[in-house]
Amino acid sequence: MSRAIQRDVLSIFDCNVPDFEREFETLSLIRKYDEYTYLHSLNVARLSIALGKRLGLEGPHLAELGWAALLHDIGKLHVPLEVLNKAHKFTANELAIMQSHPAEALAAFAKNQPVTLQGLRRLSAAFEHHQRFDLKGYPTVSRKLHLHPFSRIVAIADTFDAMTTDRIYQRRVLPDVALKIMSQGFGTIFDPTLLQAFVTAMGAYPVGSLVVLSDQSMAVVIRYPDNSALDRPELVRVIPQEHNSINLMDPQFRELKIIRSAFPEDHDIEPFAVVALWRNRASAKT
């Protein structure tokens, strides 16, 4: 079992490694097959776990959710790489192959390990993560049974990560815009309660966003202090560079507004380094 994979997983959630030996093996198969799918799976797990924590999940429930998210794309092991990474439009046949991956998850899973009850719950998420909250989407189903709670979380995390990740054929959508677009699926594509929780958990401009302010300066969102509004976080100006943070909830900044977000790499900014630096400074002060 790869130590790197163990480290990746344990950085997201706690689990007793020997209890999940087969799951680790399956994850290493995904990594060997397609690095992008592996990294995407880690991200989906990160987002799902963060949302799960917000909902009050802990212990074994959290580990179950984590594994459901990590293995949600296991069916892609059955999608040929040339289809999986195709930069141009899919043919009808390729699209059908691509869209078979949730269903193929069943085969991929059963091939790799004997199925247990926990496995079935995980598999539900793999099978259902492209089904919509209103049960449309794919695979097409005729049942009236609503999606498994883990499937509903994973569907949100999966869509958000896919939207906010650069692809060889198109640039990513910025996180705040992705959240706005996702809101169009409120109650139809996504579980409204969970989507609401996801959006509020992120804030209108998630921590780490690079934003353009109404005075044309640029800043990085470093945190949301308690009781702040969704679109009034605390920031650190990076263009022009400043050392002190600005809490938009502070009355002295009430005229200042966030106009839009921007791609950090277009401005040679590393927002998470800014966040980390500010946090280190803040903790040194305390």
């Binding site: 059963a110 259902e128 869509t159």
Partner: protein, 386 residues
Amino acid sequence: MIRDGSKQIINLDDWPILIFLKGFGCSKIEFRTRDINLIDAWSARILSYEQSYLSDPDSVKVDECHWDEVDPHSGIALIQCFFERIESFRANQMAQPAVPLMEGPIGVPSSAALNFMRELETESPIDTLHRFTLILNEYRSYGLIKDSKTWSLLIGDVMAVCLEYGQINKAKQIAEEHREALSAYWTDVQRTSRLLASYDPKVFELNHWMKIFETIPSSRLIGMLESLLTTPAGPQTLKLISARTHENPDEMIEICFHSDSAIQKLLLQWLLPHWRPAHFEKILNNLHQSKKRKDGPEIQRLWILALVRSSSRNAYDELYEFFKPKLLIWGSSHPQKKLQKLILQTLGENPNSETREFMKRILKFLKGDLAQYAEQIIQGQGRIGG
């Protein structure tokens, strides 16, 4: 703004569809038409892209969508979207942004969190299995079964989970719905073992439980017996074979005739009530084979009992042959005496008038302890010593 033809600037963030376009890098849209049908057609198309994108972001590629509404006659774009070509984005320099931190200011309302937890915690194994049974049917109807072996592993494993949670009826239902698929499952000893070990049926559940294993050929079951006996599946395997023997003895009888001694020894115990005259010749043949192979006394005893059960009159005639004096070759009398003793022991277990008649017929050939034992049986007494 559109209907009266006046020019008005709106913010892309103010109209949901436009946010979607903005996400893809669209910075401006020019409407050069007042035709509401055209605008509706355009917005319906963009909306369909948005819905596809939300269902699966990988399915929509910016360069391949028809963002503009073009006049079919003139070829002029009546609604035109302008996309920024962002210089810094090059496919070979893709950024790997970290996942945003979920540190928003507003928590989940406690009632929503509570409902979610309740939903998760009240999900019983039965609910999970119900969901998964539906998924299996959807998978099948989706026409995705390409690898019958893997499909059968999945079906069988789900049945095993059903049994692990005491859901015999559910497992039986799956087995009946996927009869053909299961044939490949039975070739996997480990998984078959798991399925067998997953539930120990009570007597009144036996009929339902057996249906789960209906498609496993008895010959395969018997073939796996040796490897399963020492596993947790052992007791259930024996239970299944025993029940099958009771239900369809003819099949087991045929298997028994062609199995090795170890299997025969097991099967013969269950088959005892099922022997009929039609089996006589094969039983006799097997008794001779067993003798030739120098099988242990227990298996020979069982063949003797089978012989008597199948046709007692013919059996006593054939057994008589084992006592009739033959031309003795030096050294061969001892094994014969051992068999004679075994025959007497076996017949003496439950003597009846036919047994006594037989003892009288062979008494003249017997000496020593064998003669003494035959006399005891004739007089309706005692058993022969070890």
